[in-house]
Symmetry: C2
Subunit: 255 residues, 2 copies
């Protein structure tokens, strides 16, 4: 145990599994809320807005406001606005990424953009992908909200944004900049929003390849909780270990 001044917390597999809340995690966040310890939910979901994410958590009785949600779409918008003011963007993706970019004053266009941004788009079409390829070949900078290859659903593992992004990667032979976990970019942005130095914050998540690796990549402490993707057996095979490993968040005493 360690007395962290703040927490970055993953959602799917950590706070809930699909439509079921993980009660130990809900109780943990309630304690953080009562003690006034800052926390920020960090998600690779690019298609939902922070409002939608907060509404979902509120249904599970998690104490949360919109400004305690940090999506990879918000990280993408912040990243681009630091690079270029008022950039023009060709975007493939859902409401979350569109709103995040427009809130930063960016213009969404279909031709000759400064950037091509790809987020998960369940209404993907050949024409959308074609416009993305043409823009990247025309010199637009290529950014993807996250590289997740699959999305767990009741039907099984469906295509994630990383696999849709690969159409443009393969066709143009150009690698994108990924923003979401496990990249350091989203973590640096999230720490800035939380307003705490990385030495005083822990990243909590269930997925070694995204949550824990993101924490390791940015050089902050990590707590893996075995309520989701990564089992204890798989964790044992990893060279770099998280700072702490727990079965559920009921084990974590907030010091």
């Amino acid at each position: 145990m360690k007395a962290y001044k703040g927490y970055l917390i993953d959602l799917d597999g950590t706070m809930y599994r699909g439509t079921e809340p993980i009660e130990e995690a809900v109780d943990f966040v309630k304690k953080l809320h009562e003690r006034g310890i800052p926390y920020l939910f960090v998600t690779n979901n690019s298609s939902k807005t922070p409002d939608q994410v907060a509404d979902h958590l509120t249904k599970f009785d998690v104490p949360v406001t919109n400004d305690q949600v940090f999506t990879t779409s918000m990280a993408t918008a912040a990243f681009i606005s630091q690079e270029k003011m008022d950039a023009s963007i060709y975007v493939i993706g859902g409401e979350g990424i569109r709103q995040a970019l427009e809130e930063k004053g960016m213009e969404l266009v279909t031709e000759s953009p400064d950037y091509v941004v790809v987020g998960l788009d369940r209404d993907i079409t050949y024409e959308k992908l074609a416009l993305g390829c043409l823009a990247v070949r025309g010199g637009a900078k290529f950014i993807s909200t996250n590289g997740d290859i699959a999305i767990p659903t009741e039907r099984g593992l469906l295509p994630g944004n990383g696999s849709l992004t690969s159409v443009i990667t393969v066709s143009t032979q150009t690698e994108p900049i990924f923003i979401g976990k496990p990249e350091a970019i989203i973590m640096e942005q999230a720490l800035a929003v939380l307003g705490l130095p990385k030495e005083e914050v822990a990243m909590i998540g269930d997925n070694y390849d995204t949550d824990i690796t993101a924490g390791l990549n940015v050089g902050m402490d990590t707590i893996i909780v075995h309520t989701g993707v990564t089992t204890k057996d798989i964790l044992m095979t990893m060279e770099k270990q998280p700072t702490f490993s727990i079965t559920s968040l009921s084990e974590w005493d907030i010091l």
Copy 2:
């Protein structure tokens, strides 16, 4: 020059460029036709039927019947039928691949198929890709008609079938079997249709990476014609050279 008993001939960049015929190539094929030398057009286009391809060539005054067209869809259907009789197939793609599979007696299904076959689909949707991923994860054998990363059009280079295929490759972490050029599979099938041993046939094409490499992969003679993709300068950088290199097919004397 060499006296070949038959020819395999590429289409785009060899017989025509978009809507424009390449007259030297048309004249060459007319001579083959007059002399009764067998030829077969071999194309990575999976979405057109042989009828549609032959109609297109006939407009350019090329002497051709349907059975002188061999598409990667036909090669795919032949490949699968050699592996398994009456296989069930989940197919992503256009009319060409659907017709080719059905003509071989295969059943097109959406769940629990023996094979997932991906050909270029300009009406691609997330649901189509999702069904493909679920089937491959469920154990279906994964086949792609061709790995072309881009399609030349008047608008520029649009996504080719290889890039659409990558969604399933990346999401399921399963590599497909590619059938079309530059794979040996389509060439072996085409030689079987032509009914001649590979030692007596030449492959003619404009694209080193597909046409010539396909010929090299199957161990047959190749003739590159610089009327399309591969320039003389690029050809010079290649370690393995085609058997012959010509500027246009008017240079080729049929012995």
